[in-house]
């Protein structure tokens, strides 16, 4: 069993991502978030469990559903929210928004709007770690839908032949937009595909941060020991639709009810209380503190200025020519 401290950490991280996303939803409701959004609500335990097993100097590669990865890895909620609002104080100076939310200094290689494009980049970052001997690992998140893209095969293969320190994290939320994974994948588990690339793999309950964490600890150890990649398939579920206005009507009622009754924050809180790591009161105190942090971050984002229009011309190259 993990330490009490770790259980508190898992609860805190899961809740932090939740409260960040709730703040985003709140700002979105006020019409302050331009463009579209892919909320991480419902999948918090995946990012929390994986990143809790990592060091600050390790990297994560994110996706189009990236807010959770970035916040869990330690990005500043102020800069992250400002980015979502398109403010000049945003982590990407308002040039990226939701789909490119990134804080490099927190160890995020980038969020990407192209499904499955992160896998090759994770291979390169892991190669960097191996060649430089830094011993850092790379966790690469992607969806069930992404596992149908060619980069999946190319990248799992390359990471395996070179024994790269990568952790492939499949967030199987059963849908790619409206397409159920059972229509596009012949096996029940995506993890089965990793066998073909001689990559150890495991399927876990992605709504249980502790289960995710335990799998991640093992994968991180394998990576740091030079024994190569691992694939962790986390079965999870979106609390809301795919993007901004999707009511997700295509999901069968029973299925949705089952998954939505298994709230990742409640699950880890219950475990932490049961294991005596935390009391209800302490848990509430942590919530209050995080709520305050998100409140302040929201205020910062709302009060920040939009970038001057001509800033659109900057950052194309290192130096202008």
């Amino acid at each position: 069993m993990v330490s009490k401290k770790t259980l508190v950490e898992l609860y805190t991280r899961t809740l932090k991502v939740r409260l960040f996303e709730e703040k985003v939803w709140d700002l979105f409701g006020q019409n302050l978030v331009p463009g579209t959004l892919h909320l991480y609500l419902g999948q918090e335990a995946v990012a929390a469990g994986i990143t809790a097993a990592m060091k600050d100097s390790d990297w994560v590669q994110s996706t189009h559903r990236g807010h959770g990865h970035v916040i869990a890895k330690g990005a500043d909620p102020k800069k992250a929210l400002a980015e979502l609002l398109g403010k000049k104080t945003g982590s990407c100076k308002g040039k990226g928004g939701s789909m490119h939310i990134t804080e490099f200094d927190a160890g995020v290689l980038g969020a990407t709007g192209v499904v499955a494009s992160g896998l090759p980049i994770a291979v390169g970052a892991a190669l960097s770690s191996q060649m430089k001997g830094t011993n850092d690992v790379v966790a690469c998140f992607f969806g069930d839908g992404a596992s149908n893209n060619g980069t999946f095969g190319e990248s799992l293969n390359m990471a395996a032949i070179w024994k790269l320190p990568v952790i492939w994290v499949v967030e199987n939320n059963f849908y790619a937009m409206g397409t159920p994974i059972k229509l596009t994948c012949p096996s029940e588990n995506i993890a089965a595909r990793a066998d073909g690339y001689c990559t150890p793999n495991v399927v876990v309950d992605g709504n249980n941060a502790l289960e995710v964490y335990e799998a991640a600890v093992e994968a991180v150890k394998r990576a740091r020991d030079g024994d190569g990649p691992t694939l962790i398939e986390c079965k999870t579920y979106r609390k809301r639709g795919h993007s901004r206005f999707d009511p997700a009507k295509y999901r069968p009622k029973e299925e949705a009810e089952h998954w939505l009754s298994r709230d990742p924050v409640d699950i880890i809180k219950e475990i932490a209380i049961k294991e005596g790591a935390i009391t209800e009161k302490e848990a509430e105190k942590i919530r209050k503190k995080l709520e305050k942090e998100m409140e302040e971050a929201g205020k910062f984002a709302v009060e920040s200025d939009y970038p001057e229009p001509e800033k659109a011309l900057e950052d194309v190259y290192a130096e202008e020519f």
């Binding site: 990297w59 590669q61 945003g90 982590s91 990407c92 100076k93 308002g94 040039k95 990226g96 490119h100 990134t102 804080e103 490099f104 200094d105 290689l109 980038g110 990407t112 709007g113 192209v114 494009s117 896998l119 090759p120 980049i121 994770a122 291979v123 390169g124 970052a125 892991a126 190669l127 960097s128 770690s129 060649m131 430089k132 790379v138 060619g150 980069t151 190319e154 990248s155 293969n157 390359m158 032949i161 900057e314 950052d315 194309v316 190259y317 290192a318 020519f321």
Partner: protein, 324 residues
């Protein structure tokens, strides 16, 4: 200083950079011990620097390019080779959506100091999937730099600049210039990006072109000199950044411009150059700008067809005569 081939000069540049900077490494299909690159550019480098730094990869273009991106943003300086320029189609996402845009969409947080080497051009009767010239596609993607060396001296200086550059560089070579020889200094030198090279000075007409077409233009200039037509030949050496100044000054001097590349005509780099010149030097033009390109077809196989497809000296000379 010795007379060496373009291939040898390119390899010398790669070797010097690998010796100078431990973070520089090469990756690509068949670039290592057994083969030394499809065009033998990297032959001997795996023996010299080890298979870690001259890394053979699976046939996975998108992941070769993407791994170069991931390595570049985490502190290495990868030089990835795509065996044929035509096959860059399989890596377009990583090149155009990731490498090119990362600095921008992440608000300047990231630098992507990578080089992607690949080779364009026909003339080897290897048909539609191994002969194209696709440089204009990349010119249309902000965030990339593009080098198009056509001479041994230039290729060595430019590959070194490319490797040291903080931005992603598409380094395009041409199959039929690998064996061209030139005096190349043994020592370290770099050539700045955005500086064209005037390969021949002239007074009556300017020819601007790339790759093998520069060599053909020089032959044409020699011929036309006998007829009393004085031709200036400009090789841009890099398309991004583009040396507009040298070109515009030349056009202001000669008043006439012929643009020559091996690309299919529609949407080629030559179209962009023509637009720039009419914007910036319209009043100095004494004749319409002429374009000499390949026709808008795939590259054909049969020697008779391919010879017809690739612009030759006759067509270039005719274009010059048409406007002087």
């Amino acid at each position: 200083m010795a007379e060496i081939t373009y291939r040898e000069a390119l390899k010398a540049g790669l070797r010097e950079e690998m010796a100078r900077d431990k973070t520089v490494f090469l990756m690509g299909e068949d670039i290592g011990l057994n083969w030394g690159g499809a065009f033998k550019v990297t032959k001997g480098l795996a023996e010299e620097f080890g298979e870690d730094r001259v890394r053979d990869t699976p046939i996975s273009e998108n992941t070769i390019a993407g791994a170069a991106v991931g390595a570049a943003i985490t502190g290495l300086r990868p030089v990835a080779e795509i065996m044929f320029g035509d096959l860059i189609t399989l890596a377009m996402d990583q090149v155009c959506n990731q490498a090119a845009k990362m600095r921008y969409m992440f608000g300047g947080q990231t630098s992507v100091p990578l080089v992607i080497r690949t080779v364009f051009g026909g003339g080897k009767n290897i048909a539609s999937h191994h002969s194209q010239s696709l440089e204009s596609w990349f010119m249309h993607t902000p965030g990339l730099k593009i080098a198009v060396p056509a001479f041994a001296y230039d290729v060595k200086g430019l590959i070194k600049t490319a490797i040291r550059d903080p931005d992603p560089v598409m380094f395009f070579e041409h199959k039929l210039v690998y064996d061209k020889k030139e005096e190349v200094p043994d020592e370290d030198y770099t050539i700045p990006f955005g500086e064209a090279s005037v390969k021949r000075e002239g007074a009556d007409v300017t020819i601007w072109g790339t790759f093998l077409m520069v060599h053909k233009a020089l032959a044409v200039a020699e011929e036309l000199a006998k007829e009393g037509i004085s031709v200036e030949v400009i090789d841009p050496r890099t398309l991004v950044p583009l040396d507009k100044k040298t070109l515009i000054e030349s056009v202001k001097k000669t008043g006439r411009l012929v643009l020559v590349t091996e690309e299919t005509k529609t949407g080629a780099t030559t179209a962009e150059i023509a637009a720039i010149v009419q914007e910036e030097a319209f009043d100095w033009l004494d004749a319409p700008i002429k374009r000499v390109n390949a026709p808008d077809t795939p590259v054909p196989f049969a020697p008779s067809l391919e010879e017809y497809f690739i612009p030759d000296e006759k067509r270039i000379a005719q274009a010059v005569r048409d406007i002087v």
